[in-house]
């Protein structure tokens, strides 16, 4: 695998909702194994951008090309729906803020993890179950919970289950939308620990949307700050947070509550 080339190339991506701007003129490259945080206040276009990149939304203009496993770049918005959906369930993952959006709440945890395997053609029950147990273990869910429905899980467990469900096919790129939103701080800390470990172990590339700068600091190497649909500042996470250059970033960083 050639690591000298980016995994994802995004160029002047814009999405407007009628006359309103979702996001405008976003350009960046994402490299294999890199975690990029997209920060900004509510309504700044973070989620719109993420949905466009993950092809859940079609952008109004601009392009994004993704380097497939065979090394060729494919223009995301010109792929057929079948190809995009195949990419979504094999090479990509999407972690929703609300686990109920990303999980099947009425089937067991094991089936939730196994679904992607069955979707790509695994037809051996024993093997699927063994993989599911392995992945539940990796996200610190006991093997005795494999036949429980996610309804019976706490918020933190559901989020970890969602992560396992996404990572089971060994994706190369994971999109995360506020992965720690709505969790209390101690649970958040453990989840961040876990995510950090998984991302570095598996060499995942990730795009993490968050309004929580501390989460961005912990998880990401690079950061994009958005305001009113545009990228106002981009750079290494530590540099942006320790030495913010744009007035808006300075405002954002200085607004963090100190304990």
């Amino acid at each position: 695998m050639n690591d000298d080339l980016p995994l994802l190339r995004v160029s002047s991506l814009s999405k407007s909702y009628g006359s309103r701007i979702g996001c405008a003129d976003v350009t960046f490259d994402l490299w294999p194994g890199e975690v990029l945080a997209v920060v900004g206040e509510s309504g700044s276009g973070k989620t719109t951008l993420l949905n466009c990149l993950s092809t859940r939304l079609m952008p109004t203009s601009g392009t994004a090309s993704y380097r497939m496993r065979d090394g060729t770049f494919r223009e995301l918005y010109r792929m057929s729906e079948a190809e995009r959906r195949f990419l979504m369930r094999t090479d990509w993952g999407f972690v929703h803020q609300n686990p109920a959006d990303g999980l099947r709440m009425n089937v067991s945890a094991g089936a939730n993890v196994g679904e992607r395997l069955m979707a790509v053609g695994d037809r051996h029950y024993g093997r699927i179950r063994a993989t599911a147990i392995d992945w539940l273990g990796r996200v610190e869910i006991g093997a005795d919970r494999i036949d429980d429905e996610p309804r019976a899980f706490s918020g933190g467990m559901r989020q970890r289950l969602q992560i396992a469900r996404n990572l089971v096919t060994g994706p190369r790129l994971v999109f995360m939308d506020e992965p720690t939103g709505g969790l209390d701080v101690s649970v958040q800390a453990r989840l961040l620990d876990l995510l950090r470990g998984l991302v570095s172990d598996l060499g995942l590339a990730a795009i993490v949307v968050t309004h929580d700068l501390a989460v961005a600091r912990l998880l990401s190497q690079r950061m994009m700050v958005m305001k009113d649909g545009r990228v106002v500042e981009t750079g290494l996470t530590d540099r942006v947070l320790d030495d913010p250059r744009e007035p808006y970033t300075q405002l954002l960083v200085s607004s963090i509550l100190q304990v």
């Binding site: 729906e81 099947r104 089937v107 089936a111 679904e115 069955m118 037809r123 051996h124 024993g126």
Partner: protein, 297 residues
């Protein structure tokens, strides 16, 4: 019609008007052309409630001709309410010959069984279907299930079977057991017991499925490959019965449990009443012509 205005109420042959029949026949032809694909059709109000076989009745009404011989079964039996009334309905509105003998019928409308006597070329089996969508249990959105069929995304179907094994240790789905048709569409074989699934495979008879409430028609042309879904380490199996039919002694047939009294008395008898009666008339020694073990799955 103008010359006969004195007749206040008269039915067209087989109840439905000719335009409706043409519309339904088009849907049937499309269904035959794309085996297992659910074709939407403009289901009509029928003089019976939804859930009583309005889909099957509309198909039968659209394909029946004056020379046809109709058999109607309900859970294998010719003599239960649903079967008797639908048979009487067609005897009245189409004036066709009716029978209870599987071999003599040209059209067999069925609710949830395939007769034990093997079907032959030229016969048509019409199923009454309550819920045509096999993916509905896990995906409630119709827009999404249609997309999944279009893109052949059937991983979800195995999630259901996985859940069965995880909960019960084996695939506990005993009826409406999902099948794959000609290696393409996953289809709900209507709530027939899975015992009958192997009979659908390479059947010489034409099989038509009608869901009146859900407004869908689908079909299996003769000699179509129908494979029941399963796992490599949990292969598809049909139900087995420990004892033979208490009345005719048949083995390898589907049996109904009949409660005899309130002290635990029960017996198991053929669910196919015509088959059972035939065997008893012949002295209960006729060999079962259908051996499930021989049919490939």
């Amino acid at each position: 019609m103008s010359a006969r205005t004195s007749e206040i109420a008269s039915y067209n042959f087989a109840y439905l008007d000719e335009q409706t029949k043409r519309m339904i026949r088009r849907a049937i032809l499309k269904g035959i052309a794309i085996p297992g694909y659910q074709v939407p059709f403009a289901s009509r109000e029928m003089p019976m409630p939804y859930g009583w076989g309005t889909g099957g009745v509309q198909i039968t009404a659209s394909i029946i001709g004056r020379d046809d011989v109709l058999k109607v079964i309900d859970q294998g039996a010719d003599d239960t309410t649903n079967a008797v009334s639908i048979r009487a309905f067609f005897a009245r509105v189409a004036g066709v010959a009716v029978t209870t003998e599987t071999a003599k019928a040209t059209i067999i409308q069925t609710r949830h069984r395939i007769p034990e006597h093997p079907l032959g070329e030229g016969q048509v089996l019409v199923y009454q279907v309550p819920i045509p969508e096999p993916l509905r249990y896990l995906e409630p959105r119709e827009t999404e299930t249609r997309k999944m069929h279009a893109l052949e995304e059937y991983g979800l179907m195995h999630v259901k079977l996985y859940e069965d094994i995880a909960r019960h240790g084996h695939i506990a789905t005993t009826y409406a057991y999902p099948v794959k048709v000609e290696g393409r569409y996953v289809m709900d074989p209507s709530p027939t017991p899975k015992f009958d699934n192997p009979k659908m495979h390479m059947s010489p008879a034409l099989q038509l499925f009608g869901a009146g409430r859900e407004k869908r028609i689908y079909a299996l042309p003769p000699y179509t490959r129908v494979v029941s879904l399963d796992f490599e380490d949990h292969p598809f199996e049909v139900q087995r019965f420990e004892q033979p039919c208490a009345l005719c002694g048949a083995r390898n047939v589907y049996l109904d449990e009949v409660i005899l009294d309130d002290r635990g008395g029960r017996m198991f008898v053929c669910s196919d009443t015509d088959y059972c009666e035939k065997r008893r008339d012949e002295g209960g020694v006729a060999a079962n012509p259908f051996e499930p073990d021989e049919a490939a799955t």
